[in-house]
């Protein structure tokens, strides 16, 4: 009976009941203090003065335009990074070439760059004093303090999500199935659509969910490039900031509660995808045994 998972641990390899309760208690207290209470307080503050004020804060035109801009940003940024993630994972996981691990490091880079720096680099490129600022001004193209800048900054901060989910997954799966498809006469695209994609769908979805959450919630990078023009270049997080700084707490938390709801949906979707992926993996193993 070696290393069986989830087997009841024998008396030798666990702690006495009081120690277990104590440790669990401390851990749960930490979770409550740092995770549960802040989450609950968002909704509590939002509804502090009743439903009517809550709804009023959401249907107000500036809030509404912030919601629309947030959705637009995510709708552009996420698919772009999805396509990139799949292409990068295909090249990295299915082929052997020099400089591969360096490329992976570069792909991870946006995760370690401060969001503020991420915003700044686009200002340096497209801002009034940036490299291409004068040229853009001449042709009357606005990127910084406008929607394109917000989208660019969001693309940057969500850049690695899909790729870093897919690379290890596709590396683990190898390329035997693809080779089999090619031997059977499938074209490259057919092989991708019919063999590769079904195998990576859960990993892909997982990456998309995380990228989407970050795209809709990004604050620092977007804050630098947005210019905070109400009704024009405010995403929900930026709108929350403005309302909060104006001491309009109910409205701030009302808008924040949409984002908190989004976070909860994200967590639920993430848990579901993890569960579904684990189930599929278990099924594959069972079939392999049979």
């Amino acid at each position: 009976m070696s290393g069986t998972q989830n087997a009841p641990r024998s008396i030798v390899t666990t702690e006495s009941a009081p120690v277990r309760w104590l440790l669990t208690g401390i851990a749960l207290l930490f979770v409550a203090l740092f995770l549960v209470i802040p989450l609950v307080s968002v909704f509590a503050e939002a509804f502090k003065q009743g439903w009517r004020l809550y709804l009023a804060a959401l249907v107000e035109p500036d809030a509404w335009s912030a919601i629309k801009l947030t959705l637009l940003t995510a709708v552009i940024a996420v698919p772009l990074n999805l396509v990139f993630g799949v292409a990068a994972a295909w090249a990295i996981a299915k082929f052997d070439f020099k400089g591969k691990s360096f490329l992976i490091t570069l792909i991870d880079l946006p995760f370690s760059v401060s969001p503020v720096v991420a915003g700044l680099i686009y200002v340096l490129l497209f801002g009034a004093q940036g490299w291409w600022g004068p040229w853009l001004a001449e042709h009357d193209i606005k990127i910084i303090f406008a929607v394109p800048g917000i989208v660019l900054a969001t693309v940057f901060v969500t850049f690695p999500f899909v790729a870093r989910e897919l690379i290890p997954l596709m590396e683990a799966q190898g390329s035997e199935e693809e080779q089999a498809a090619l031997v059977l006469g499938a074209s490259g695209w057919q092989t991708f659509w019919r063999v590769t994609l079904p195998n990576i769908k859960w990993g892909l979805l997982y990456g998309v969910i995380l990228a989407n959450a970050r795209a809709m919630g990004e604050f620092g990078a977007v804050s630098v490039v947005s210019g905070h023009i109400r009704g024009m270049t405010n995403t929900i997080p930026l709108h929350v900031e403005i309302l909060y700084n104006e001491y309009n707490f109910v409205a701030a938390f009302a808008c924040a509660s949409i984002l908190a709801l989004l976070a909860l949906v994200t967590l639920a979707a993430k848990s579901y995808v993890e569960w579904a992926a684990a189930r599929q993996a278990a099924e594959d193993r069972r079939h392999a045994v049979e």
Partner: protein, 346 residues
């Protein structure tokens, strides 16, 4: 040191792992717990070690009740199937571990630890690997280090869980002879678990055959092989042909050969080992007619598969010489007669 296992019961949920086990292990003997997987042999070993607790029953070490003694204080050496070497420690530190974790007042000095560990590493003939990490060792080397580590605490009993299970055939043969020699030198009471009958028969002083949480038979290798107490033991230790027969006035028969049947049953199953069957080309009234369908050469012996009128094909084992002399070939009509057999009520 002797060990007594008294009325041990253990369940995992609805599964009965051990059903009222009683066993005496004598001082200095090398005992094998033999059985198919899931028969409870590992659970029994772990209960003796104190890694698992029994639902009922007791374990006595040298006449003293050790049932509630923590594994830490039981002074047993336990060798795990997959070695369980500490990956972040060198071979030396692995072997020294049991000495270093002793309470301060009984802990040996650094010099004494060093001397002891090197002595043990010499004993298992791996002194030159002291500074390596487990990942750099072969399977056989890891197993010997695991043994040295277990011996470092001067255990009163040595318990080994499938000690050769994860090794390839050549290494496991070498290692089990080595274990036997080591035991003859040290005479420490040892129990090992195995599902390999050859291993149990070759290495152990006594063999305990287990099945479905019960002990089927305890005895020397000769006893369990030559006088199997139950059909299970007969089948588990080596290949066997089964013949079904009605019982007539206390006799069961195969072909025409009669064997004494157990009393008070009208049906019997007759067990005959392949090498206990004579084969000839002449019909007699005490032989079973059949046709050779396969000939398999297995090194020094040859197996003939013979189709008979009723029942499963019969396997007959011949030495290479007798096979060559007889010039047996596929498709020939032959007559079989068992020389020896054991008869159980069917």
């Amino acid at each position: 040191m002797s060990i007594e296992v008294k009325n041990i019961n253990k369940r995992f949920g609805d599964f009965v792992a051990l059903d009222n086990i009683n066993l005496d292990i004598q001082t200095g003997e090398l005992l094998a717990l033999l059985g198919p997987s899931g028969c409870g042999k590992t659970t029994l070993l772990r209960i003796v070690a104190g890694l698992e607790t029994a639902d009922q029953g007791s374990i006595l070490f040298h006449g003293e009740d050790a049932t509630d003694t923590h594994v830490r204080e039981r002074q047993v050496g336990f060798v795990f199937q997959h070695y369980a070497l500490f990956r972040h420690m060198t071979v030396f530190e692995n072997v020294a571990f049991g000495l270093r974790v002793r309470p301060k007042h009984t802990r040996p000095t650094e010099a004494a630890i060093k001397q002891k560990v090197h002595a043990l590493l010499e004993l298992v003939q791996l002194d030159w690997l002291a500074d390596r990490y487990p990942a750099q060792l072969s399977g056989g080397q890891r197993q010997r280090i695991a043994l040295a580590r277990a011996l470092a605490v001067e255990p009163r009993v040595l318990l080994l869980d499938e000690p050769f299970g994860a090794l390839d055939t050549q290494v496991r043969k070498e290692l089990r002879r080595w274990l036997r020699r080591l035991h003859d030198e040290m005479h420490i009471t040892s129990v090992f678990v195995t599902h390999d009958q050859e291993e149990a028969l070759e290495v152990a002083d006594r063999v305990v055959v287990m099945n479905k949480g019960r002990i089927e038979q305890t005895g020397t290798p000769e006893q369990v092989y030559d006088q199997p107490a139950t059909p299970f033991v007969y089948q588990f230790l080596g290949d066997v042909n089964l013949f079904h027969s009605r019982v007539h006035e206390g006799w069961a028969e195969v072909g025409g050969t009669r064997f004494a049947a157990p009393e008070a049953s009208d049906k019997a199953v007759i067990y005959v080992r392949p090498h206990e069957i004579d084969i000839q080309r002449v019909a007699t009234d005490t032989a079973l007619a059949g046709v050779i369908t396969h000939v398999r050469l297995l090194g020094a012996t040859v197996r003939l598969e013979v189709n008979v009128a009723a029942g499963d094909p019969v396997e007959v084992e011949l030495t290479r010489e007798r096979y060559v002399e007889g010039r047996w070939s596929v498709g020939e009509a032959v007559w079989l007669s068992p020389r020896e057999a054991r008869v159980y009520a069917g």
